[in-house]
C-alpha cells in the first residue's frame, strides 16, 4: 500500500519487511559466533533474558516462512514448550511449560525462532522489572536505571539489538512504558485480536499480547502474523481490517497541564507535536475528563481479576511448594506466602477485598461502570479525530530503587497507558527523542478498535522523517 502524507512525502508501507530482508535471518547460522558474542557482552550488562538458548527449540520453528531464521525473545509469562514459565516469580521457579502459546506458535510457524525468555515484573505487576524474583534488568541507555515494566526484559533486549523483536504483555502499559524507557516501538493491539491463549493471565479483560521492535515495519509484520481468531481463546476475534485504509488526517492531542510531566517528557512531547504539524497532520487539543479516574478504575478491575487468576498458584500441581504445612490449607497458604513477592501479595489482597461481599458494589461494580464512561469518552473523541496522542509516562526511565518514584507513584503514573487497556483500543508507543540526560522518551498514539494500520502509518511517517536514535554501541544485525 503506497500513499502520500499531507505534505506530499512518500509513505513507505510496502510488503517487504525490514526484518525479513537482511541480516537477521543469518544471525543464527552464518553469523552465529559473532552474534552470540555480541549477545553475551550485552547480557552481562543488562540481564534481559532469564533463559537464553538459540538451539533449544529451533526445531519447533519452520524452516521456511516469512520469518524464517529470525530470532525473537518472549516475555517469561508466555508458555513456550521447551522453556520454563516462571512469570518472574519464585512460586513458578523451574516449571517447564507443557505447551506453547498460540501467538508464539504462529510466529514459529512463520519460521521465527524463540531464543529465550525475557525478564519481567512478577506476573506482569510492576513498572520497572525490579519485581522479578530472579534478576535485575538494566536499561541499555543507562545501566543504573530500570528498563521499565513489566516487559522490561523484552524492551531491553530489543533496544540493545539482541533480537529484532520480542513479545511482551500489556495490561496497563507494560509494553508501551518499557518501550518508551528503552527507545523502541511498543505495540498494544486491540483487545482480542491476538489470542491470549498461553499468556499467563494478570487481568483477563485488560491483558493483550504486545510487540516490542526497533522498526515500525517489524511491529506490523509480527502483528499481522499473530493476529486472528483462536478457538482456544473465546474472547478472540478475527481482525476486520481498517475501516478507512488506515488513513490519518486529524490527531487529537491531549493537553497536559504544566508540572505533570518531567521537563524531558514535556520537551519531547512538544517536539512530537511539531513534527506532526510539519508532516501535514491537523492537530486539535483535547482534554480527557475521565483521566482523573482511570488509575483507580484500572487498579480496582485489574487487581480483582488478578486475585482470581493467581489463585491457581498454590504449590500443589507445579512450582514451589513450601516445606511447611501439615494440611493442604496450610500448605497452600505457606507456599503462596513464601512464593509471592510483596507487590503481588498487595495486589492479590486488594483484588480480593474489592470483590468481597459488601464491598463489590462500591468498588468493582462502580469501577466497571466508570470504565464504560471512559470508553464512551474515547468513542466521542474518535468521531472527530483519527488518532489520540498522549505521553506514555510522565518521566523517562527512573533509577533502580524507590528513590525517584516509589511504587505508589509508579502506579499513579500509569494514567496515560491504562486508558487503552480499559477501552480495549490499540495503542503504539513511538520513540520520540533522547533528551539532555541521555534517556529516550516515547510518545503514544491510540486508535479506534481495529485501526492498528493508522498507528503504523503515522509511526512510519515519523520514522521516515525523524529517525529515532539508537543505543550507543548497538550493532544493527539487519544490515549484515
Amino acid at each position: 500500500m503506497q500513499g502520500k502524507d499531507m505534505a506530499g512525502n512518500g509513505i513507505n508501507s510496502s510488503d517487504s519487511s525490514s526484518v525479513t530482508n537482511g541480516g537477521w535471518s543469518k544471525v543464527l547460522s552464518e553469523n552465529k559466533a559473532s552474534y552470540l558474542e555480541y549477545v553475551d557482552g550485552w547480557e552481562k550488562k543488562i540481564g534481559s533474558f532469564l533463559e537464553y538458548d538459540i538451539e533449544r527449540i529451533r526445531s519447533a520453528s519452520c524452516r521456511e516462512g516469512a520469518l524464517a531464521g529470525i530470532p525473537f525473545g518472549v516475555k517469561d509469562n508466555f508458555a513456550v514448550e521447551g522453556f520454563n514459565i516462571t512469570c518472574g516469580s519464585k512460586i513458578l521457579e523451574g516449571v517447564a511449560s507443557p505447551y506453547t502459546a498460540t501467538s508464539v506458535a504462529k510466529l514459529q510457524k512463520a519460521g521465527a525462532v524463540v531464543v529465550g525468555k525475557t525478564n519481567l515484573d512478577a506476573f506482569g505487576m510492576g513498572s520497572s522489572t525490579d519485581n522479578s524474583a530472579f534478576k535485575v534488568t538494566n536499561n541499555p541507555w543507562d545501566l543504573t536505571r530500570v528498563a521499565g515494566g513489566s516487559s522490561g526484559g523484552s524492551a531491553a533486549a530489543v533496544a540493545a539489538g539482541l533480537v529484532p523483536f520480542a513479545l511482551g504483555s500489556d495490561t496497563g502499559g507494560s509494553v508501551r512504558q518499557p518501550a518508551s524507557f528503552c527507545g523502541v516501538y511498543g505495540l498494544k493491539p486491540t483487545y482480542g485480536v491476538v489470542s491470549r491463549y498461553g499468556l499467563t493471565a494478570y487481568a483477563s479483560s485488560l491483558d493483550v499480547v504486545g510487540v516490542l521492535s526497533r522498526t515500525v515495519d517489524t511491529a506490523r509484520t509480527v502483528f499481522n502474523t499473530m493476529k486472528g481468531r483462536d478457538i482456544l481463546d473465546n474472547t478472540s476475534v478475527s481482525h476486520p481490517g481498517s475501516a478507512n485504509n488506515g488513513d490519518v488526517k486529524k490527531i487529537a492531542v491531549l493537553k497536559v497541564s504544566d508540572g505533570i510531566l518531567s521537563k524531558e517528557v514535556e520537551l519531547s512531547y512538544a517536539k512530537s507535536k511539531n513534527r506532526l504539524l510539519s508532516l501535514g497532520f491537523e492537530l486539535i487539543d483535547i482534554e480527557l475528563t475521565s483521566l482523573e479516574y482511570v488509575v483507580p478504575v484500572y487498579y480496582t478491575i485489574a487487581t480483582a481479576e488478578a486475585s482470581a487468576n493467581l489463585a491457581r498458584f498454590n504449590g500443589l500441581r507445579y512450582g514451589y511448594q513450601s516445606p511447611e504445612g501439615k494440611d493442604p490449607g496450610e500448605l497452600m497458604q505457606a507456599s503462596r506466602d513464601e512464593g509471592f513477592c510483596d507487590e503481588v501479595k498487595l495486589r492479590i489482597l486488594l483484588g480480593t477485598y474489592v470483590l468481597r461481599s459488601g464491598f463489590q458494589d462500591q468498588y468493582y461494580l462502580k469501577a466497571q461502570k466508570i470504565r464504560t464512561a471512559i470508553r464512551n469518552e474515547f468513542n466521542t473523541i474518535f468521531e472527530s479525530a483519527d488518532l489520540v496522542m498522549m505521553p506514555v509516562f510522565p518521566t523517562p526511565a527512573f533509577k533502580h530503587g524507590s528513590a525517584e518514584l516509589d511504587t505508589f507513584q509508579q502506579k499513579v503514573a500509569d494514567l496515560y497507558t491504562c486508558t487503552a487497556n480499559l477501552t480495549g483500543l490499540p495503542a503504539l508507543a513511538v520513540p520520540s527523542s533522547v533528551e539532555e540526560n541521555g534517556l529516550p522518551v516515547g510518545v503514544q498514539f491510540t486508535a479506534p478498535a481495529f485501526e492498528e494500520d493508522r498507528l503504523f502509518n503515522v509511526a512510519g511517517v515519523l520514522e521516515a522523517g525523524f529517525p529515532s536514535p539508537t543505543v550507543p554501541g548497538i550493532k544493527d544485525w539487519s544490515k549484515f
Partner: protein, 486 residues
C-alpha cells in the same frame, strides 16, 4: 388428618454429569474410570496461561434440561467465577453461573403416591465445571484431575418438598427424566448424579426455618433416611427450646445419622464476578427451536399415553416406561403388530408388556445387560410372540426360544425350525396319543370322572412326555377332557 406440629421444607441441589465427548471447557475426553491424570491437559490442570473454551454440546444439553423443567430462559446467560480454594480445584475458582443462569423459575411435576401430581418449583438450572477427585489414603490424599473440567449441570429446587419420602421420589423421577433426555446416565454410585439437601422445619404457617445442608446422600434411599433423621433431630432441638445451627451435616450410613461437618470452609465468601474469559450466551430463536424439537416425550407424559393407548395397567405402565429404552422397545414391538391384524392392539400390547416385565427382564437381570445392549430386538420379540399366537409353539417353548435367541443371537424362526421345536397341533395325531394314554391309565381316568379334576395334569404330563413336549397343551387338554368326560 393428623396435624403435625412442624412444617417441613426441603430443597434439593442436584448435580448431573452431562454426557459429552469432551469436557466443558477443554478438549479432554469426558469419560469415567480412566487411569489417574490421563484425561488432562494444561487447561483442566490450571496451568498458567490457559483459557476456557465452551463446549456447544454441553450448552445444548443444559437448555434441554432447562426447557424440560419449564424454565424461563434468561435472554442472556452469563458465566461467573466462584472463588474458593480446595486441592481438587485446578484454578481455585470454579466457572459456574450465578446471576444469569441458563434457566430460572421452572417447575417439575412430581407424581405423588396417590397418583396426583404437584408442581415442585425449580429455582434455576445452571452449567458449571466439576472439580478433580481426592482419594484419602492414610496420611496422604491423592489427587486425580480426570474429572476436573467435566460438565456439570446443577438444578436447584425451591424448598417445596415436604418429606424425606417426597425428596426420594423427586430424585427418582428427576433421574428418570434426565435419563430419558439422554443428557446424563444419572448413576448415583458412579457419581454422575449427586444430591445435596437443604432442610428446615418451623411451626405451621410460620414460613421457612433455619436450614441445615445435608451432604453425602449417595442414593435416593439415603436421601429419604437422612432427611427423616434430620427432621426428627431438628424437631428434638426445637422442642427442647434450642435453636437450629445453620451448618452442613454429613450423612453417615453406617451409624444412620447426620453429623456436623465443622470445617474452616463453612462460611465462604465466593466473591462471584462475571467470567471475563467467556462471552455471554444469548440463545437465538432457531437454536431454541432445535433444542425444543430434540426433547423426547417425557416419562410422565409417555406413561400416561402408553397406559391409555395400549390399555396397560398401572404396574405394567410403570415398568414399561421406567427406562426410555424399554418404552421404545415396547412401542416398536407393538408397532410391528399393527401391520399384522390377527390380534387387537391392546391384547398384543398386554402380552408384550407381560413378556417384557417377566421373561425378558429376567434374562436381562441375569446377564446384567440393558435391553438396548442385548441382542434382543423388537423384531425378535415380535416373532416369538407371533409364533405363540399362531400356535406354532407353546408359551413354554416360547420362553425357551427367547432365552436361546439371547444366548445364540439367532432368529426365533430359525431356531424353531433348526431344533424342531414346533408344537404338534394336529388334532388327529394328538387324539391318537391321548387315546393311548387314557387307555394306559384307567385308575386315573376313573378318579377324574369322580371329580379329581387335578389329575388331568398327570395325563397332560404323560401326553407331553409322549410327544417330547411338543403337543399343543391347549389342544391336548381339550382332547383329554373330551375323551374322558364324554
Amino acid at each position: 388428618m393428623k396435624q403435625t406440629k412442624y412444617q417441613t421444607f426441603i430443597g434439593l441441589e442436584v448435580h448431573i454429569h452431562l454426557i459429552t465427548e469432551s469436557k466443558v471447557f477443554c478438549g479432554c475426553r469426558n469419560v469415567f474410570g480412566s487411569e489417574p491424570n490421563t484425561n488432562v491437559c494444561p487447561v483442566c490442570m490450571g496451568y498458567p496461561g490457559v483459557l476456557p473454551s465452551l463446549n456447544e454440546e454441553a450448552v445444548k444439553k443444559a437448555y434441554q434440561v432447562a426447557m424440560a423443567l419449564n424454565c424461563h430462559l434468561n435472554e442472556k446467560a452469563v458465566f461467573e467465577r466462584k472463588n474458593y480454594f480446595y486441592p481438587d480445584m485446578p484454578k481455585n475458582y470454579q466457572i459456574s453461573q450465578f446471576e444469569y443462569p441458563f434457566g430460572i423459575n421452572g417447575y417439575f411435576d412430581l407424581e405423588l403416591t396417590d397418583g396426583s401430581t404437584r408442581k415442585i418449583r425449580i429455582h434455576d438450572v445452571h452449567l458449571e465445571e466439576d472439580a478433580g477427585k481426592m482419594i484419602h489414603e492414610g496420611s496422604h490424599s491423592k489427587l486425580d484431575y480426570n474429572r476436573a473440567g467435566t460438565p456439570l449441570l446443577e438444578i436447584v429446587t425451591e424448598p417445596d418438598l415436604v418429606s424425606g419420602e417426597e425428596a426420594e421420589a423427586f430424585v427418582q423421577q428427576f433421574r428418570q427424566m434426565v435419563r430419558y433426555l439422554g443428557v446424563t446416565d444419572g448413576n448415583m454410585e458412579e457419581g454422575s448424579l449427586r444430591c445435596d439437601a437443604n432442610v428446615s422445619i418451623n411451626e405451621q404457617g410460620k414460613g421457612l426455618g433455619t436450614k441445615t445442608e445435608c451432604k453425602n446422600l449417595n442414593s435416593s434411599r439415603f436421601i429419604k433416611k437422612a432427611l427423616e433423621y434430620e427432621i426428627k433431630r431438628q424437631a428434638k432441638v426445637l422442642n427442647s427450646g434450642e435453636k437450629i445451627i445453620q451448618e452442613t451435616r454429613l450423612w453417615d450410613e453406617s451409624v444412620a445419622r447426620t453429623s456436623s461437618m465443622r470445617t474452616k470452609e463453612s462460611s465462604n465468601d465466593y466473591r462471584y464476578f462475571p467470567e471475563p474469559d467467556l462471552p455471554p450466551y444469548r440463545p437465538k430463536a432457531d437454536f431454541l427451536e432445535m433444542v425444543k424439537s430434540s426433547i423426547v416425550e417425557l416419562p410422565g407424559i409417555r406413561k400416561k399415553r402408553i397406559k391409555e393407548e395400549y390399555g396397560l395397567n398401572d404396574q405394567q405402565a410403570v415398568f414399561i416406561t421406567g427406562e426410555k429404552e424399554m418404552a421404545d422397545f415396547f412401542e416398536n414391538t407393538v408397532l410391528l403388530n399393527s401391520k399384522d391384524s390377527s390380534s387387537t392392539s391392546k391384547e398384543f400390547a398386554a402380552t408384550a408388556a407381560s413378556w417384557l416385565s417377566g421373561n425378558v427382564q429376567k434374562i436381562l437381570n441375569d446377564s446384567c445387560l440393558g435391553i438396548s445392549e442385548s441382542c434382543l430386538s423388537p423384531e425378535r420379540l415380535f416373532a416369538v410372540l407371533k409364533l405363540i399366537e399362531n400356535n406354532t409353539i407353546s408359551a413354554g417353548t416360547g420362553k425357551k426360544v427367547l432365552a436361546m435367541v439371547f444366548e445364540k443371537n439367532e432368529e426365533p424362526g430359525d431356531l424353531v425350525d433348526k431344533l424342531g421345536l414346533a408344537q404338534v397341533s394336529d388334532t388327529g395325531e394328538i387324539e391318537k396319543i391321548v387315546s393311548e394314554i387314557v387307555d394306559a391309565n384307567p385308575k386315573v381316568v376313573d378318579a377324574i370322572r369322580e371329580g379329581a379334576d387335578k389329575q388331568i395334569g398327570f395325563l397332560m404330563g404323560q401326553v407331553m412326555k409322549a410327544t417330547s413336549g411338543k403337543a399343543n397343551p391347549g389342544l391336548a387338554q381339550k382332547l383329554i377332557r373330551k375323551k374322558i368326560l364324554k
